[in-house]
């Protein structure tokens, strides 16, 4: 055990893991977080707390993670390289560990131009791989990035993201390998709507044996409407939403119900792919859908491991 987190336990004991996502509010109201945590509690092994997702300012992911943990739900704190240099990141990680955070997802981060402060200077002192490497050395070698030693090390279960739909396709697998080498113990993927392409990607992952070195959680999520699907298809970089999906939602009499049905179909398909160790359900601002999805996908109850 690297961290002793619930998520790490679930995965290492061979269970099919379920993680969800919880977006902090654009305010400092803790009740919003608490409400969402209550909804998700018992339906996921851990929940990701996003770090100023899409470069929009929100409550800090570490603080939100602590609130969530108080509610009895295990957080996966996300950490991006956009807003902090290596000094700030290390400092924040020490703080997070001191507050009991055990899971860390390391990301480069969406570009500041995507968010609500496009004039901000992007830091990008490190990239995601360099971040993973740094966190692993902090934990395993008890060293700061500069090489200095520390007495008590932060013990994180280190995660990273992967996007099977970005280009160049083949290179994304190489990049995954680099992340694994750097120290990524679990991987959460971009939202999957093109299962065929994901399966091809997984094939390459398996060929490189990466699925044996890291836990791969397939990113899934319900879509509320054909309009939302079309938006993701056309406007969101790094997303691959096939036309049939848009058409399927378009044709549905109750698009929301169809969106959940679609998500369940995809879960069923990705579960069958060798090397997929769990799913990561992204239902941002639709957290209430997570229990239904977990239930109908037959993923309940969640295992309790001591």
């Amino acid at each position: 055990m690297k961290s002793g987190s619930n998520l790490e336990k679930v995965l290492s004991s061979g269970h099919f893991a379920v993680t969800a996502e919880l977006g902090p509010p654009k305010s400092c109201d803790p009740e919003v977080v608490e409400k969402k945590a209550e909804i998700l509690k018992g339906f996921a092994d851990a929940v990701n707390i996003t770090d100023n997702q899409t470069a929009i300012v929100r409550t800090s992911s570490i603080a939100t993670g602590v609130i969530v943990a108080r509610k009895g739900l295990e957080p996966v704190v996300q950490m991006t390289c956009r807003d902090r240099n290596r000094i700030a990141i290390q400092s924040d990680l020490l703080g997070a560990a001191a507050l009991g955070i055990k899971n860390l997802l390391c990301l480069t981060g969406d570009h500041q131009s995507c968010g609500n402060h496009p004039q901000a200077r992007g830091v990008f002192d490190l990239d995601a791989i360099q971040l993973i490497d740094m966190v692993r050395r902090m934990r395993d070698e008890k060293k700061f990035q500069c090489g200095e030693e520390m007495s008590v090390e932060p013990r994180f279960f280190i995660g990273a993201a992967a996007n099977p739909f970005a280009d160049p396709f083949e290179f994304q697998v190489i990049r995954l390998a680099k992340k694994v080498t750097a120290g990524a113990e679990f991987i959460q993927t971009q939202l999957i709507y093109n299962v065929e392409k994901f399966a091809r990607w997984m094939k390459m992952v398996r060929e490189m044996g990466l699925h044996e070195k890291t836990y791969i959680l397939a990113g899934v999520g319900p879509i509320k409407s054909a309009g939302a699907a079309r938006y993701m298809k056309n406007k969101v970089a790094g997303m691959d939403v096939p036309g049939e999906i848009v058409e399927r939602l378009q044709a549905a009499s109750d698009p929301k119900a169809e969106g959940i049905k679609l998500c369940l179909d995809i879960i069923e398909q990705v579960r069958a792919i060798e090397g997929v160790a769990g799913i990561h359900i992204m239902a941002i601002e639709w957290e209430s859908a997570v229990p239904e999805i977990a239930e109908r996908a037959g993923l309940l109850p969640r295992p309790q491991i001591d």
């Binding site: 570009h111 490190l126 280009d167 190489i174 990049r175 971009q190």
Partner: protein
């Protein structure tokens, strides 16, 4: 070379509104080659200002001068006669030129008429793109001759982010994904292996982050 672009006239009008005699100083170096300065752009701006000032009832003369490089003391010093007659030097050089003027003529106002943008090159007539941000430690030998520091929006060193799609950057589909270009070029050269290596944290102290920099060539010292 250094690529620059003229400031909007509205802004130049503001900058010059209090001055009487104005000397517009162009530079025949990088900024002329990227068509932001040189005798012609100086004359165009001078003509615009003369007309605007006449309409606004402002007095004074607009003079024009262009020198070889506005970032060299000797060339700038040769402007002295004309500078003396002016209240304001409106520089159509890059930021380096403006600062040279300010330094050589400590009692004169030297204002910029251009926005200095980046180091780059023309990719087609009328279009210039950024290639180098002067980070101080070149790694082009590792990345197929394409700079990830300047040409990746996040200066990532280990490959593209998840926003790379169809060879384009998530920031703007007009921007090529620098990493796609690196990948394509190394794959053409059969050197994709190089990308498997993890590139560790970059030493940014050689860049602007290390404070204003200088280069010393001992042998060139007089």
């Amino acid at each position: 070379m250094i690529i620059a672009d003229r400031k909007p006239f509205e802004e130049i009008k503001e900058l010059t509104s209090k001055a009487k005699n104005i000397l517009i100083a162009g530079c025949d170096s990088c900024v002329a080659v990227c068509l932001a300065s040189g005798e012609k752009e100086v004359a165009v701006l001078a003509s615009e200002l003369r007309m605007q000032r006449k309409m606004d009832g402002l007095e004074g003369e607009i003079e024009e001068i262009v020198n070889v490089r506005q970032c060299e003391n000797e060339y700038v010093d040769a402007m002295r006669d004309k500078v003396e007659k002016a209240d304001l030097i409106l520089s159509m050089a890059c930021g380096v030129g403006v600062q040279t003027l300010a330094e050589r003529f400590p009692d004169k106002l030297a204002y910029p008429a251009l926005n200095t943008k980046f180091m780059g090159r023309p990719v087609e007539p009328g279009v210039w793109k950024e290639n180098c941000e002067g980070c101080g430690h070149c790694i082009l030998h590792l990345t197929g001759g394409i700079c990830p520091v300047a040409r990746c929006s996040k200066s990532m060193l280990n490959g593209p982010c998840g926003g790379s799609q169809g060879g384009k950057c998530e920031v703007d589909p007009e921007i090529d994904c620098g990493w796609q270009l690196i990948y394509d070029r190394l794959s053409r050269l059969g050197q994709l292996d190089a990308l498997v290596e993890i590139m560790l944290s970059k030493d940014w102290s050689t860049s602007w982050s290390g404070g204003p920099r200088r280069v010393i060539k001992e042998s060139a010292g007089v």
